[in-house]
Symmetry: C2
Subunit: 158 residues, 2 copies
DNA sequence: GATGTTATGTTATCTCATAACAGAAGTGTT
DNA sequence: AACACTTCTGTTATGAGATAACATAACATC
C-alpha cells in the first residue's frame, strides 16, 4: 500500500450498527451449531475486524481491543485470531502479516485475495485451484491447503 | 513440518562441490550481463541457500554466515536476500518466513511452491495462473504479482 | 459439588525485520 | 591522480510479530 493513495477503497466498507450486529449474530449461530463458544475476547476481535475497511495487523487489534483505550495482552488477541481462523470467520493474509474477516458465505471454504498495493484494500474471492491441484498431483503431492495472494491495483487505483 | 518426520526428502538435495560452484558461476554470469555485482556477502548467502536441502530462515543464514562460526549482522543477510530475490536467484516463502534458492531456469519467472508439512521440503514449480488472473481481471484488478503456496504431503511422506 | 476440560490472564521471552548513519569500495570524469 | 558520484557494507539500536509457560477462571458432565 502506497503511503499517499488518495483513492477511495469502497470494496469493503467496515460494518457498523445493525449490519455489524447481524454479522456477529450469524457467527454466534454458526458457533452454536458447531458446539463452539464465541466468548467475549473472540467476539471483540471479530467485531474489530468487521468494523475495519482494511486488513488489520495483530498489534492494531491489540491496541484497539479495550473499549476505553487499554490494550489487550498479545496472547488474548492471537488466541482469538486462531479461533476465528479455525472456524472460518477470519483469514490471515501471509504477505501482509494481517487479518481480515471472512467476506464469503459458508464455512470451510477456500480463500484467496486480491490486494491493492495502492489503497491497501484486500478483496476475498473464491478461487479455482484445479490447475494447481493437478500440477501438485502430477508431482505426487497430496495438498491440504493453498495460500493465494495476488498483488496489484484495484479498479479505483488503476 | 512435523518434528518427527523420518522420511527422506530427496526432492532437493543441497548442492556441493562442482555442482555448487557451477550454480554460483551461473549466478555470476547472470549478474555480469545485468550490470549487477555478486559481492561477497551476496555470494555467501546464495551459497548457503544452495547448500541447504530445505528452506532456510533468515536467522539460520545469519548464524551460518561466518566461515568460522561468527554470525553475520542481520542487515547483512537481509540485504543479500533482497538482492537475491530481486535478481530471481532466491524466493521468500511467506507462509514459512523462509527462503529458498531458485530451482528453475531463467530469471524473471513466476514461482509457486509445494510445501511438505511432514518433512519440510519445498518444491518450486512453474505455476499457471490463467484462471486466477481471469478472476482478477473480472473484478477490475491489474495484477502485478502472485504468491501461491500449497501445503500438503510430498510423495515420500504420504 | 467433585472432576475433567476448555478458555483466559499474565509475565516473560522469542523470532523476524528494519531504521539510521558512518565508512568503504566501485565508477566515471577531469 | 584527484574528484565527485553512486552503490554497497559495517554497526548499533530498535521496531514488529508471535509464542512459551503457568496460574486462574469458567464451563460442562456426572
Ligand atoms: Zn473467507
Ligand atoms: Zn486500490
Ligand atoms: Zn524460481
Ligand atoms: Zn515430505
Amino acid at each position: 500500500m502506497s503511503a499517499d493513495c488518495h483513492h477511495e477503497d469502497g470494496s469493503h466498507p467496515g460494518l457498523a450498527g445493525e449490519t455489524l450486529r447481524r454479522a456477529i449474530g450469524l457467527a454466534e449461530t454458526r458457533c452454536m451449531t458447531s458446539q463452539e463458544r464465541l466468548t467475549a475476547p473472540r467476539r471483540r476481535v471479530l467485531e474489530l475486524l468487521l468494523e475495519s475497511d482494511a486488513p488489520m495487523k495483530a498489534y492494531d487489534l491489540i491496541a484497539a481491543f479495550g473499549q476505553s483505550g487499554e490494550p489487550a495482552k498479545p496472547p488474548t488477541v492471537y488466541r482469538a485470531l486462531e479461533f476465528l481462523e479455525r472456524l472460518g470467520f477470519a483469514h490471515r493474509i501471509e504477505s501482509l502479516n494481517a487479518y481480515v474477516p471472512c467476506r464469503l458465505d459458508g464455512a470451510g471454504h477456500k480463500a484467496a485475495f486480491l490486494i491493492c498495493e495502492c489503497c491497501g484494500a484486500a478483496e476475498e474471492f473464491e478461487p479455482d485451484f484445479s490447475t494447481q491441484l493437478a500440477a501438485a498431483a502430477a508431482r505426487g503431492y497430496a495438498v491440504s491447503g493453498v495460500t493465494l495472494e495476488a498483488r496489484g491495483l484495484c479498479p479505483a487505483c488503476r
